[in-house]
Symmetry: C2
Subunit: 400 residues, 2 copies
């Protein structure tokens, strides 16, 4: 009998991916995914930079390269972070990763022995939970409201819990809720992290996709003790298919990540790194982001307008100022896993919120993605959902 | 104080990478690396396939894609394996990975709890050791000769050792030695693996780079019980910078690798997979390999001719029939780590063999790479090494 490692008993197929398989039928309007809109990918520009890199660099662009990443790209990432996220990192702080998912996996690998604690928002990003679970920690959800983790609750946990190895947060346009942490909560988190000497993983894939309100300082910009590992990606502001992300960290954390990267995949694609670097040289990245946010802004508006028009009383939702997702809370008698079955019968899909809660049972929430669908389809999908909710409610009430 | 996972105490910088930093000076002739020759990378063809993919597929080529890999590429890999490695795998057995290094990391993640045993050749591939070490196994070198692991020694270990989770081998043109397992030894290994129910990781990055002799059947082709995980890559037969490798495995092993891949980096580059697939459609892959092997064959010949001409008595070496490396054994009074210092003074470099032995101390071996250097430089480098060996020997003899 082949015997697997004990970690495999905790790893299971992503529920979202299972739902996505069901919803691949063209007649289904699916808010279940999390895909960027491919029509805003810079396809023509990619053709130009890809040819330019091969013309000018030749075979070296296809050769093995350094584990840390392509130096000009590391410098561009650092400069952009400093300009946009208020940090003061140097190129030496940047490790290019195979998507930001790899950076999350590396955080688990660097810090976690079996039974160690990771604190996270509740709800939090599902694929981060998957990444960390491979290292068999105990995930603890910290009570979280509209403005972020509640500091008193966080302090209570830090004061009484051993083996908290890091705190994982998504302060900007969180996945799954779309919420953004207030400045006060950011400061409170950093004060506690410094007091207790606990590293913070700041996952920021969506921060640049703001379509209203003002940007708030990143946690990394408040980091005076080298405790914050900032994780981001080109997947949402450029395109995800290249699998190029990065992390920014200080020593000694950084050098350990490099060792992990060597063992994990040696380095990230030489040519894709050069292509993105060339794109940043030749084109206006902010204009590319503006193109994306204009599209997502309209789609968010269309989704909220449709929800406000069609959804019955008692369904509340977030109003994200950026990003790809919003979050709805149903009346407590509705189980969103059951609602999904009704919705699929109406050819519309979403992700039940249950799986996003690391260690608690919440059954009446759901995540909706608006980035990858035109406004009329969004309106039609929400209308179908509203019909499914009414159908479910009526059945439930009859059941009493 | 930031506290890392206990695994980090076992992870250290690759000694080869440290040597490579020293030898980056242009005046040094370095046999220390393991790079393919970039002049045989199909740069013009890459330009064509890259433009074709973007022209025809557009944004979808830059979108997220499935964890298992791009289906047409999986089918091409399976067909090629069946034609060349004598296997009978289907596309559903193929998981595309971010280089074969990622497949090795996944083997550690799938099978290893702390203290579990991995059996490997002695010496074996250094970066596999690094990948496995992250999961804190005990690595045990199995006595190995010119023809592969010695079956009696392997059986003795399997009979008496608990918790052997897998056997890791490179049967074709091994790194570091360049040796190829005999047919008899392949059969003996598979018989023992089946008797004891132990999975076998067959790492085969070089097998297609044969320039003399006849190809032998892969272990995967002899696998009747779904125990062999076959690992390979496009890095040596196409180009490494894209970071595209794969593994082939049967259920239930395969489905667990997919779970691991989801958590590790979601999927491998969408566009790079499509580019390789298009290359396989449009061009003659065997002709591309023939171009590479013609070059490496000449370089191996040049290295062996120079060693036979310049090296003093008492230095023996392998005569690989393919691949990128050969292996030399020095008189036992020579420590190759010390010899390296003499060589660096003569502006020539190699990798001391010490680090390739997983659990034993062998101090008089070294690995030489011949793939990435013209013949005249190879001859000159070997001449310099010979001078350094003589200098070292004379000093040592004076020391007696």
């Amino acid at each position: 009998m082949v015997r697997f490692a004990s970690r495999m008993s905790q790893m299971k197929a992503s529920e979202i991916r299972e739902i996505l398989k069901i919803t691949a039928r063209p007649e289904v309007i699916s808010f279940a995914g999390g895909l960027p809109a491919p029509e805003v990918f810079p396809v023509e520009e990619m053709k130009i930079v890809s040819a330019a890199v091969l013309d000018e660099i030749g075979g070296e662009a296809l050769q093995y390269s350094t584990t840390e990443g392509y130096d000009p790209l590391r410098a561009q990432i650092a400069a952009r972070m400093n300009a946009r996220a208020g940090t003061s990192v140097t190129p030496d702080n940047i490790l290019v990763t195979t998507g930001s998912q790899q950076a999350l996996d590396f955080c688990g690998k660097l810090f976690l022995d079996e039974g160690d604690r990771v604190l996270c928002e509740s709800p939090t990003y599902l694929a981060a939970i998957s990444a960390f679970r491979a290292y068999q920690p105990r995930l603890m959800g910290v009570p979280t409201d509209e403005d972020g983790m509640i500091p008193d609750a966080l302090e209570q946990i830090l004061r009484t819990t051993n083996a908290v190895k890091f705190i994982y947060v998504i302060p900007d346009f969180q996945n799954p809720t779309g919420r953004t942490w207030s400045l006060e909560r950011r400061r409170a988190l950093m004060a506690l992290a410094e007091t207790y000497g606990v590293p913070v993983v700041e996952d920021n894939p969506y921060g640049e996709l703001r379509f209203e309100g003002e940007a708030l300082p990143s946690l990394k910009s408040m980091d005076t003790k080298g405790l914050v590992i900032y994780v981001s990606t080109f997947s949402k502001t450029f395109c995800p298919g290249l699998r190029i992300g990065w992390l920014a960290a200080d020593q000694p954390i950084f050098r350990n990540f490099v060792l992990i990267k060597q063992g994990a995949d040696l380095h990230t694609s030489s040519i894709s790194q050069r292509e993105i670097s060339r794109f940043l040289d030749l084109y206006d990245y902010d204009a590319n982001i503006a193109k994306i946010t204009t599209v997502y802004h309209k789609r968010r508006d269309a989704m909220i307008a449709a929800m406000d028009m069609y959804f019955p009383e008692g369904v509340s939702h977030t109003r994200p100022q950026g990003g790809l997702f919003l979050w709805a809370t149903l009346p407590s008698y509705i189980k969103s896993v059951e609602l999904l079955k009704h919705c699929l019968a109406h050819n519309v899909a979403f992700v039940p919120g249950d799986a996003f809660f690391p260690d608690s049972t919440v059954t009446n929430t759901l995540r909706l993605n608006y980035s990858n669908m035109p406004e009329d389809r969004i309106a039609e999908g929400i209308k179908r959902m509203a019909a499914a909710i009414r159908e479910y409610s009526n059945q439930s009430l009859r059941g009493f």
